[in-house]
């Protein structure tokens, strides 16, 4: 065990480095949530989703083209670069 890779507070241990496998579980969680949303419409046909069905109409007419998914992807990429710059500049 190295002092550079773990935080130790009164016997509590927490790794500083993120294991790559943890992302698999987050992705799995997202996929399962989406599956449950689909299941809802099958089990309760005709019934709107609570909360979400009230929010979606707010965005109707705004993000109503597939191009917005691509623009969103680019924005994530640009913010990843800006985030990297900010993090590296302030890490010391």
């Amino acid at each position: 065990m190295s002092i550079n890779t773990t935080d130790s507070v009164d016997g509590f241990l927490q790794g500083e480095k993120e294991p790559p496998g943890s992302w698999v579980f987050i992705a799995l969680g997202v996929v399962i949530s989406l599956s449950f949303l689909l299941l809802y419409s099958i089990l309760y046909p005709g019934q709107d989703l609570p909360v979400i069905s009230d929010l979606v109409p707010v965005f109707s007419g705004v993000f109503d083209s597939g191009i917005w998914f691509f623009i969103l992807g680019t924005m994530i990429g640009i913010f990843a670069i800006l985030g990297r710059l900010l993090l590296e500049a302030t890490s010391e």
Binding site: I67, G77, I81, E88
Partner: protein, 556 residues
Amino acid sequence: MDTVLSTMFYFWISLFIAYLLVQRGLWIFSDVAKGTVSFMLEKAIGPGADLVEGRTGSGARSWIMQGTLWLILGSMFTFMSMWLSHDPDALHSLASWGYSANTHELYSAGVYATLYGSVSMLVIGSGLHIIPKLAGTELASETNANLVSFIWTISVLIMVVGSQNNMILGLEIIPVGIVLNTAALIAVIMNQLLTLANRTRNMALPGWLILIALLSNPILSIVSIASGAINDNIGQWLSYHIFGGTFFFLGVSGVALYASSISSGNPLWSKTLVGATLFGGIFTINPFGDIDGQMVIDLFGPLANNNVIAFSNEDMLSASFLMALASVPILAFSSNMLVTLRGSDMFIDDPNASGNAELNLGSWLIIPIAIGSLFVQTDAVSGTNELVGISNSLSMMSGWLVLVPLSLGAALSLYPELVGRHLFSQSRSRWGFLMMTGGAIFGLSITMIADFMDLALAELLVEDPSALSEELRKVGSVMFYGVVIGSIFHSLNMVSGMFRGNLISKESVTSSSISVESYNLVSPTTVRRILASGADLDTEIIPTGENDEKGSATKL
């Protein structure tokens, strides 16, 4: 004398005089000029100089990093223009913010961001590293080079905004951008000329390619205004293509030829071919790009008139002849690049040669795209206008499959030396290359197929647009999104590499699953470079004797 030959004649004479002045100096005024320029570059900018660092290489680094970031915006605007060509209402919700997006304006924004933002900044940035190296001296003012890069970025930003709404507060915005841009370019030229004045050895030819490219920009602007070329569509078309052939083609050729030698470890194959590229670039008309000079009207604003006249027979003949001659410098450049890059790492395993794949791609594709462009331009010049429909796709191909790969490849090759570190990840570099190349080749080819379908339908006088053509445009635009992702990968890799890339003094770990049976050793090289090309312990090394030929090697 006709418009084409007379304008070109004035341009050649002006460039020749500029070359003589650079070579011979300003007689007894040389020392005064040096002192004045030096003062203007450093002291005259006052407190502005304190805003940026002046360490060795910081100027080139700043230009290259900003050029790479512009790549994202350039590809994004181009992608959106392609999407809106089949779905014009996709961004209608932005109208509530007062912005009405349309495909033509987004296409213009993409062109400004890609050519002025990305390609120009990568070429100028690489030039700021290459010319001092080849001249055996230091850059005259790193501080000025660094500061001016931000002025250039602001000018491109103004041009991009102007492409969406050119009139703001009764003022044409794009000419304001180009004035700022020219001011920044003149500062770069002064910086490079002062560097050259302090040279300790004769500069190799790639350096001259870059310098002539820089000088050609303001000279062409003056010649176009003075000769009246910007007042009619023929002169505007000509100015656009001379600009493309000198500033872009020569600039990109210069940095790519230098980088091909640096990253492959091979000497530049032929000095004669570099000379042919240089003279051919100046004395011929480059066929890449649009079929009209609309960009010149936008850039010169109130100075340009919108007169439309038909090409005279003399103009048509001289333009077609000079465009056909452009195949000489293009072939010379391509062959020189490909032979120089021979035997080097093409699979992006060697961290010292991350740009080789891009350089190789641009060197291959420049020939078919040049031939296609020649057909389209000749068709437009002769007034036949049968191929006008594919001109946009072909113009985008020349940008995304020739100029961008060559300038980005050169910048990636120089990156370790400039930053002192390797790129963050070779794998990300490889993915960036694959996404950009795949996206551009498939996206633009599929769009061109749709263009051909529309041309065929128009010829048959079919009024309803084809559903299949629209579907193809949709697929083409989605595939082109790979270029956006590739640009993000490259930018992220370069930004991360500045902080966390392996130091170049440390040995880099490379691995390759590709092995080769034989390796042609054409010049002295390191074992690491041989291993990086895919060789293993069983690979047979075959020495070849090309260096014995007279004039075959250029030491950089």
